[in-house]
């Protein structure tokens, strides 16, 4: 195991290099920050642009810039934003907790809701409960996340005035964004749990567990659930990754100061240092999550571990 983790860390470094290299290169393809920064100026000469570029250190060859960035990362210096010179590390340090909080709470909420619902649907397969659960869970998939988000805002903030419609101050602010994400995540999770459950419930050892007189709850949540945990864990891992990096739209609606928005703004502002820094952190988190998922496979299924 120790060796396995060590190997994965080496691979992670490789992944980080590839990702940051790609991102640094791609973002440089997609636009020139000097043009952006000078956009409002009356008339701009090529000389002005070059001055701006030189000021940002963009006049050097790409690989030199990249090497510089990597060197910075190694010593923990993420550079400064093109948009105003804010230290990138500070921006990330501010955004990361918000993102992690949202990701954790949404996932937790979703798991807490979808596991029982999915199991319930599986056990009552074909009956009314199952149909209702299946149809309701689809709502989260039929409307885009911003749509759900705006609906929640209209209902809970504007009409009922229960929750703050946006921002990041205190646990109350977390409710709606987490709810939005949880509704969406649950749509998939409920159905995954249901299916995986159906595959497991017919196993002999489930009959055996029942023969021991275990409460149905123990049979389902202990014996069956763990046996169908692999698709769930896989998917939750993926969802975590998505939540960390990809929920820009929801973050925007709730004005949630997360990494997704940071990355998004950095992309649209061609703010290379912020983007590179954010992506590095994203990649780190995702690599870590995938490592955890792989380790979890062995935990939930000892047969995988023994190889």
């Amino acid at each position: 195991m120790g060796g396995f983790v060590l190997k994965r860390i080496l691979q992670a470094i490789f992944v980080l290099l590839v990702v940051t290299l790609f991102v640094s290169y791609a973002v440089r393809l997609s636009g020139d920050p000097a043009l952006m920064l000078s956009q409002g100026a009356g008339s701009v000469t090529e000389q002005d642009l070059q001055n701006i570029r030189a000021g940002l250190g963009l006049d050097r060859p790409f690989l030199v810039q990249y090497a510089d960035f990597v060197r910075g990362i190694v010593v923990g210096d993420f550079g400064r934003s093109f948009m105003g010179g804010t230290p990138v590390r500070g921006l990330i340090a501010d955004a990361l907790p918000a993102t992690l909080a949202l990701a954790f709470v949404s996932l937790l909420l979703s798991v807490l809701v979808s596991v029982p619902l999915g199991i319930h649907a599986a056990v009552n397969k074909g009956r009314g409960v199952d149909q209702v659960i299946r149809i309701v869970s689809l709502v989260g998939l039929s409307f885009p996340n911003f749509w759900l988000a705006i609906m929640l805002v209209l209902l809970l903030s504007v009409t009922l005035q229960l929750l703050p419609p946006s921002g990041w101050d205190g646990p109350l602010s977390l409710v709606m964004p987490a709810l939005t994400m949880a509704i969406i995540l649950s749509a998939t999770n409920v159905r995954l749990v249901r299916t995986a459950m159906l595959e497991t419930l017919s196993s002999q050892y489930i009959t055996v567990a029942r023969s021991k007189g275990l409460a149905e709850r123990a049979v389902l949540y202990k014996h069956a659930l763990r046996n169908c945990a692999i698709p769930l864990i896989t998917y939750i891992g993926l969802q975590f990754g998505n939540l960390i990096g990809g929920i820009v739209v929801v973050e925007k609606v709730f004005n949630w100061p997360g990494l997704g928005t940071l990355a998004f703004d950095a992309i649209s502002g061609r703010d290379y240092p912020v983007l590179q820094g954010t992506v590095t952190v994203l990649a780190l988190v995702i690599v870590a999550v995938n490592l955890l998922v792989d380790l979890a496979y062995g935990l939930v299924d000892p047969r995988i571990r023994s190889k």
Binding site: V18, P144, F146, I150, T188, G241, A283, N290
Partner: protein, 288 residues
């Protein structure tokens, strides 16, 4: 040496069985109906919902025959646009899901089945893909190749295969250690046939679910692209685009965004019913 099977005549059919066929009928009907309406929409609405009437903008639904589902901010008929819009949405949703799932399943199978180097390489690719911000890929991809329909589908495949790959790989890792797989290996079943007959059928359940859900996801992904300004021509109606356009009207004109959402829901419901039915068909043990 067997007790004989009794004739069926009086034997009542199991409840599960009834539901299963009902599931199929409902699923096929719903999907079929959506597809049919969408296909026929061009004949029903020869203008393809493009006739504008700024004077009649945002008229509410169920008020007049001409615009049964109301009109949008440009005074176009919502019903016509929902039906015509299905053509793009269904095509994008189905094709991109098809592509992504085929790619992802294949990669997941290879990685999970062979493990070792293949697994390492493919799963690191997954890591890379997951760590790249969706918008950046969208932006680079679409701004380099242009935002045509084909490109959007390709882009969706690129951004969606990962989940299939990882899901399938996880399941394969577990299934390949089962004794029946070893048994098959023992009498020399070749890899391809092993995967086809023993691995795939035993991992396919969750995958089917993901596939049916992914159709919805990809239809909606288009609306996220629109939200970010990377979508297709807004003159070509699509469910995702309509949802994105309707988002500022949610307090004033709910129908603009609700009906495309309902259309997505019905389609996805139909597909899911079919998916569940298929899953049940493939799982002989599930006759609870």
């Amino acid at each position: 040496m067997q007790p004989a099977v009794l004739p069926t005549a009086a034997a009542p059919q199991g409840r599960a069985f009834q539901w299963r066929s009902l599931e199929f009928i409902a699923g096929a009907l719903l999907t079929g109906l959506m597809v049919l309406l969408v296909l026929l929409s061009v004949w029903i609405f020869p203008d393809r919902g493009s006739t504008m009437d700024l004077a009649a903008r945002l008229s509410p639904p169920f008020a007049q025959w001409a615009h049964a589902l109301g009109t949008d901010p440009l005074g176009r008929d919502v019903l016509a646009r929902v039906l015509v819009g299905g053509r793009i949405s269904l095509m994008v949703g189905l094709l991109s899901t098809l592509g992504a799932s085929l790619l992802g399943i294949t990669i997941g199978l290879v990685a999970g089945y062979y493990r070792g180097v293949w697994d390492t390489i493919l799963m690191r690719c997954v890591d890379v893909q997951l760590a790249l911000p969706f918008i950046l890929i969208a932006l680079t991809f679409i701004s380099i190749l242009g935002g045509g329909l084909g490109n959007i589908i390709v882009f969706m495949i690129i951004s969606q295969w990962v989940q299939f790959a990882r899901l399938v790989r996880g399941l394969v890792l577990s299934v390949r250690e089962r004794e029946y797989v070893q048994a098959a290996r023992a009498f020399g079943v070749r890899d391809l046939s092993m995967v086809r007959h023993h691995i795939l059928p035993n991992v396919i359940g969750p995958v089917i679910i993901l596939v049916t859900l992914n159709v919805a996801n990809n239809i909606l992904l288009e609306s996220s692209l629109t939200f970010l300004g990377l979508g297709v021509d807004p003159l070509i109606p699509s469910w995702g685009g309509m949802l994105a356009d309707g988002r500022t009207y949610m307090q004033t004109a709910w129908w603009v965004s609700v009906f495309p959402g309902v259309a997505i829901m019905l389609t996805v419901l139909g597909l899911n019913l079919l998916g569940d039915w298929l899953r049940d068909r493939l799982d002989p043990t599930g006759k609870l």
